[in-house]
Symmetry: C2
Subunit: 345 residues, 2 copies
């Protein structure tokens, strides 16, 4: 297994898209070979960063704030969530961001998470269309995830895939989500920067407030800004942000930008705002916190998968004994936890 | 604890709404007293059913198909999911169903699940308005659940509350959900009957197909049937259902009904269709399968809560060791499972 894992890891890190796709599927399924490959990729990156740190410590530009030898992880990819309602032009905006990032010579991965698609294979078709657009460019990778098979938590599973995309060396990972539901909020809690895409004339401002998006947004973009009502929406969002009063010194104040993604207007400005937010995070240590939240998400996905397997195996008599009050559900739940731990030890 | 649990259970079973509300909060929080109360309520119901079975076995009307002494659970409540997009008039329809059910002298509980509300306390306000409507009637209980605090799975947590509502003796439990996302699909998989509410003129038919609702619906209702496009929508849905060909003999073929919930038109017919579906389920043994799926959901909610607690306690160094490839996420996940089992043993 070790050999197979190393081989897959090496090829994925070299940019082989088939190996990467295979690893993603393996990680979604909790397959040991893929998980070992991910560990190995991370170890390599940590080693490189530690060496770079040691080299710079020995030189003149030693950075007193970062002691690489103590095991501080490399900064890794920028992980940016882009969330917006269906029809907000979110995918077009993400594609435009990919183009801008390529001009900056960054390697970019896009992960489109669609929780509204539990049964259909719709995401796959979307994948192919978008993949085709970037097919000639090996530094761009696009993948979609539907809810299917992630009953333990779509968000947690997505964070595992983000970890892999980061580990194989993408500079930017764009996680595209439909802005409703708890999956989005969980993803938003674990990315470095959350971009909320709004559009004029759909009551989106109100929707954003209702769905809790105001609280998670680091950057707002009013897309389709050439349509009526765009200025009004910008004012409304700024007004809603202002209600909380002026932000305390040193905190991030979310900018409200405009774009016309179909004409690539405003996209370079959006990219720059994302960069500024990342710099702010790094200065404040929030990047480390986001990284740890992603690891928590990964661990949760793996636990959920182990539990799901064990739960599927519970005999009907045990379920009936709970329904009839012979024992309580908690006793069965804890027995199941022990069994899942034993089965995977 | 045992005494407190028995006391709460007794009062909730007698119809005391404060005790019931307290038990629901306790169950959502995984509180041992409330879980013990639920177990006790279930044991009482199973005992009553077994006695009833024994009595009828001794008498003339013995039912050869049901051997209560072998521990078959009582039939319990009808658990009906009502799902539809915001604005479909779903809540009005549910209220109308409550009224019809009261005319049939059934005790009714409504659980409104709103996964789109992760941060706000909006559900609480809705609760109060609806509670006020039924306040004078002790045989009606209304409760809302938002996503907040159920990161382990809103659907699983909702199924625990359904188990309690069933155990305190409601004849009908209506679970109202917004028809998007995986929570709905999980709830739909565990209720006895899923009613999908559509409305004309919103492309709802297409939406239903896209969201996987066609597969889970047992009964369709085109609400706002006095609006243009209603007949067309009924035809479209019937057409979509017909695409699969005639259903095999003995299987359920979802009826497509119409209603105008605001005028209570078509609601008695909907109630009758739900009853017919229930009879069909009982004849085919599917009711038992739904009941077991609900217990699975409950157990999953409790496991998820235990895991969430343990995950929050993981020291930063352990998370960093995963991010740096010193160990893989799976090893940490399994260690966490063992710790969660030990902590709750």
């Amino acid at each position: 297994m070790k050999h197979e894992a190393e081989e897959l890891a090496r090829r994925a890190a070299e940019g082989d898209e088939r190996s990467l796709a295979r690893l993603i599927s393996g990680i979604e399924a909790g397959e040991p070979v893929s998980l070992e490959a991910l560990r190995s990729l991370r170890a390599t990156r940590a080693g490189v960063a530690a060496n770079a740190g040691a080299a710079s410590s020995a030189g003149i530009e030693a950075n007193a704030g970062v002691d690489a030898s103590a095991g501080v992880a490399p900064p890794g990819a920028r992980v940016v969530g882009v969330t917006g309602a269906p029809g907000s032009g979110k995918s077009t905006l993400v594609d435009a961001l990919v183009r801008v990032s390529r001009e900056l010579d960054r390697r970019v991965a896009v992960l489109a998470v669609d929780p509204s698609s539990p049964y259909t294979g719709g995401a796959i078709l979307g994948d192919r269309i978008r993949m085709a657009r970037w097919h000639a460019d090996e530094a761009v990778f696009v993948r979609s995830m539907a809810a299917r098979g992630h009953l333990g938590g779509l968000a947690a599973a997505a964070l595992q895939v983000v970890a892999l995309l980061e580990a194989v060396g993408f500079d930017l990972v764009l996680v595209e989500t439909v802005g409703v539901g708890q999956s989005e909020v969980e993803v938003a809690a674990a990315v470095d920067t959350t971009v909320v895409v709004l559009t004029p004339g759909q009551g989106d401002g109100v929707q954003a407030v209702k769905a809790g998006l105001m609280e998670v947004a680091d950057v707002f973009v009013v897309n389709k800004a050439d349509q009526p009502g765009a200025e009004r929406l910008v004012r409304d969002v700024r007004g809603a942000l202002g209600l909380a009063g002026p932000p305390p010194a040193g905190t991030w104040s979310p900018p409200v930008l405009t774009s016309v993604a179909t004409r690539e207007e405003g996209v370079a400005e959006l990219s720059a705002a994302i960069d500024r937010h990342r710099e702010h995070l790094e200065a404040s240590g929030a990047s480390d916190r986001a990284r740890r939240r992603r690891v928590r998400g990964e661990v949760r996905a793996l636990v959920a998968e182990a539990v799901r397997r064990e739960l599927a195996r519970v005999p009907e008599e045990e379920l009936d004994s709970v329904a009839e009050g012979e024992r309580d559900a908690r006793t069965l739940a804890m027995a199941l936890l022990s069994r899942a731990a034993d089965a995977n030890a």
